[in-house]
Amino acid sequence: MDKYNFPILTKIIIKNFSIYKKTNLITVNIKDGVFCLAGANGLGKSTFINIVNYGLTGIVRRPEAEFSQDNSIPKFYSRSKSFAVKYFDRRIDENLRDIASISIELTCGGKIFYIERNFFEPDALSKLEIYEDGINIIEDEQDLTPSDFDFIYKQEITKSIGLQDFDQFVFIQIFVLTFDESHQLLFWDNSLMERVLYLFFNLDPSKAKLADQLRKDVSTFESNMRNLQWDATQKQKELTSLINQLELSTNNTQLVDEEIINQYNDLTSALSDGLENIQKIESDVKECDLLLADFSLKLSSAKFEYDSLFSSSFNRDVSLEKDPAILSLLASIQSDVCGGKDPAHHFEQLKKLIWETKCPGNKIANDESSVKKLQELDEIIFRFKGDQDKIQERKLRLIKEYDNLRNVANEITSEIDEIEKNNENFRLNLYRPSDKQGLASFVNDIKIQIGQLLNYKKEESKKRDEKRLELKNLERELSSQYLTAEEFFMPIFTEYARSFLGLDINIFLQTYAKGATLVLEINDTERREKHQLSESQRYFIDIALRMALIQHSSLHANILIDTPEGSLDIAYESRAGKMFADFTKKGFNLIITANINSSMLLLQLAEQCKAAFMQLERMTEWTTLSEVQQQEQAIIEKAFVAIEKKLG
């Protein structure tokens, strides 16, 4: 799969957003590296993330809604559209509705996009410019309306990224490139993972379902074929017995050539013989099957005897204290003694064992006799195998003969049909009209039915072969994609998860037959249910998953992280800071909102990135503090200063 070119944001302008009370124009230039919006709780940090995503996609995700309810990307997209207006309604003053907007400048696939979207018109862009090699490629278009702009934007950005549909971009932007406060965790949600696997690895869940369906179809066709065959055979038997019952009418035979009558008779008796042979073969095959089952049993018990003898004679040479048989006896004795039982009944056996296997004279004699016995058993097994192979060959030969006879019988039947067709009155003349009239037409009906059954069977067989081929190709395709994902993606993800958590974990894809999904194992015990991990741990596995997906599928991207308030264990904060810094250095820009109290994370980030690679934006520039927050201002200020100091 080719790499995706995710958009890289370079500038964000927010106009007239009421919640950001201090200013009605916020301009942020985003450099490569980390952009961190820091502030106390409740100042609107999560809102910022939603605003950016709204700018890019035209939607705001409904926080309570789970993706599995929609369970399809287009459905999710359309159902989320109406929510944006509701969301912004509460956050923007009535009088500013028309002039509140979000502008974004971004680069994607070599082009530079400028877009501006009003908060209350999600399907329109008040401004769109797309620059390619310094030229605005839509400048020449006349009379474009805002919804035209939106339409063009959707097409162009989708193309530049490398996706097929805009709603796919929306999905990726909202669920993979963003990690937000409502923690819809990718890893633990099958419906999300399925889509992710498809978008990132071409692992198509519909293909896996198709493969299942094909398998069912093939087996249906095969059972149909068997039924049709059986029916045809039955009908054939009925037919021949009827024909044999009928006497040839001599009255009107001068209308038909005697030669043809003879031919007809020969054919019908050949058919009857043929059917008898077929029946005989069927019972021979059954007999073979019984013999094979019998041999199989004989072989396994001979093999068992061989293995036991081998094992026991093998251990003879072992010294007393290492012999497994003796050790196991001793263990039984020990358990008896400790359980207060009398172990004496074991002593006889111990004595026997030692006498037989450890006493010099006996040992040698035993060795020689064991080898001889083993050789005998080996010969017996070999003979059984040979006989079994012969029976198997016989069975195959019989089946082949059976098929031949079947074909011959079919041919004879069609020849009989030919004769009857060519000699119109033949049938009527052949059978005595009177009481056999009904019978004659009955006979004819049967013949027609047989012909039809055999035709159906041929058709089913063809269909089955087609499906089989389709299935084989599909399975091969799925296998190789599955393995590609494993080969390149899994190691990255596992390493990230391990680095974050510091735990010895394994992650693997379940086989495609059951539907591809990821399973997590910690120190060899499966933890599929998310409640077995702490919240911070779950959070980090999800971040690790996103990082690995992004790293696997693209060279540059923006990842948006809304640090959840207060649910990060301090122990993880510092590590998280370092992980984010390392990730950024690989070429992925991070837009992160953080609580100023998450100081360990921010301090570590600042330390690793320095001013060259990290911008710190104080939310206090954007909005006023509440009374409570003002009281804490000194502490907040101190925290900011510490971070800025780290930035250097």
Binding site: S480, T484, I492, T494, E495, S499, K578, M579
Partner: protein, 355 residues
């Protein structure tokens, strides 16, 4: 990256055509292949005991009929040998060996014969002054040259990593003779400057060498950040004994000649930092049980040249070999203070210098 079925089949066919054993099998049938296996087996054993070099001439063959028995091909009586180690005492550099069976060979010293006289029917292997050939009827099929050994049948295997690294240092790194390693240069013709990001190639070169030569399990490691500085991991006997190797390099890397600054300019500080990272990692990941033993190895590829810049296209001998013997000073000296830290190894790679 993914190939389709036809391409895979085409590649397999290509292998089948180029591999010399296939030619022998087709020319002489299954018996010929068996003979080849025996012959090459004998070659491996013989080369354990003789100091094979470029002056040697060794013929090893299996007679397809009695006319080709060695006593009929040479004038002197051949020696019958059942213990091949006795060859160690022999100083002859020319020998013809007939393989009788798995326990017996017959050798004629100093007197060779032309392989073509018997190769129509018998399978013949001929090491002729550095060139290895196997005959298919009247065609001599040359075996490809091995990057660090004079013969495919004298390739050393190592139980210890130290010995393997020593061999790599001399036979693969020093003159950049490893075919993988040789791709690391911006300028193959003079080997002054590295390509951008040479780590991957250096790692690969070392990995494939170790995998080929070390009698243990060699794996390339995936790491996503500095917290795990391990590039190659070797385990002997299912993890009771493990070596962790970190690869670093020194020198300059560029993407275009004469660029303002080199992409990377690594020096001894990089190596020292690597040593510290490795020691730190070892400290943090001490093995659980006392029966497990892990040792860290720092390996540094040294491509430094004196007084060269991003536009250097030639270097003289003095400047090229300036760093030949300049070992890195490590502070602290982990290899002296930690039992699980081996002495760092430096692979100096010579440039191609003028005069």
């Amino acid at each position: 990256m993914t190939l389709n079925k036809e391409q895979h089949i085409a590649y397999m066919k290509e292998v089948a055509e180029t591999i010399f054993a296939a030619s022998v099998n087709i020319a002489y049938g299954d018996q010929g292949l068996k003979d080849l296996v025996e012959i090459t087996g004998v070659a491996s054993i013989v080369y354990k005991y003789i100091p094979l070099d470029i002056d040697y001439q060794v013929i090893i063959y299996k007679a397809a009929n009695s006319v080709h028995s060695i006593s009929k091909l040479t004038s002197k009586t051949p020696s019958k040998i059942t213990d091949i180690s006795s060859l160690a005492a022999n100083s002859s550099k020319r020998m013809a060996i007939e393989v009788i069976n798995s326990k017996e060979i017959r050798i004629s010293f100093e007197e060779l014969f032309d392989p073509l006289t018997i190769s129509e029917e018998s399978v013949v292997y001929y090491f002729n002054k550095g060139v290895e050939q196997v005959f298919c009827k009247t065609n001599a099929v040359a075996l490809p040259t091995h990057p660090d050994s004079i013969s495919h049948y004298a390739v050393p295997t190592f139980k210890s990593l130290e010995a393997a690294l020593e061999h790599y240092k001399v036979y693969r790194a020093r003159r950049s003779t490893c075919p993988i390693l040789n791709n690391v240069w911006f300028d193959k013709a003079n080997r002054i400057l590295f390509k951008d990001g040479p780590e991957k190639i250096l790692r690969q070169s070392l990995y494939f060498f170790l995998s080929d030569h070390v009698r243990g399990e060699v794996k390339e490691e995936q790491n996503v950040d500095d917290s795990k500085p391990v590039d190659i991991k070797i385990s002997w006997d299912f993890a009771s004994h493990i070596a962790l190797i970190e690869v670093k390099w020194m020198g300059k890397s560029i993407v275009s000649l004469g660029q303002r600054k080199p992409n990377q300019n690594m020096n001894a500080a990089e190596a020292v930092a690597g040593a510290n990272q490795l020691a730190d990692y070892l400290e943090r990941h001490k093995p659980y049980s006392v029966t497990q033993f892990t040792k860290g190895y720092l390996v540094v590829f040294d491509g430094r040249r004196w007084q060269t810049s991003t536009s250097s296209i030639a270097v003289n001998k003095t400047n090229g070999l300036y760093y030949e013997n300049r070992e890195v000073t490590y502070t602290p000296e982990h290899h002296n203070t930690r039992a699980d830290f081996a002495e760092p190894v430096r692979f100096f790679i010579e440039p191609i210098y003028t005069s």
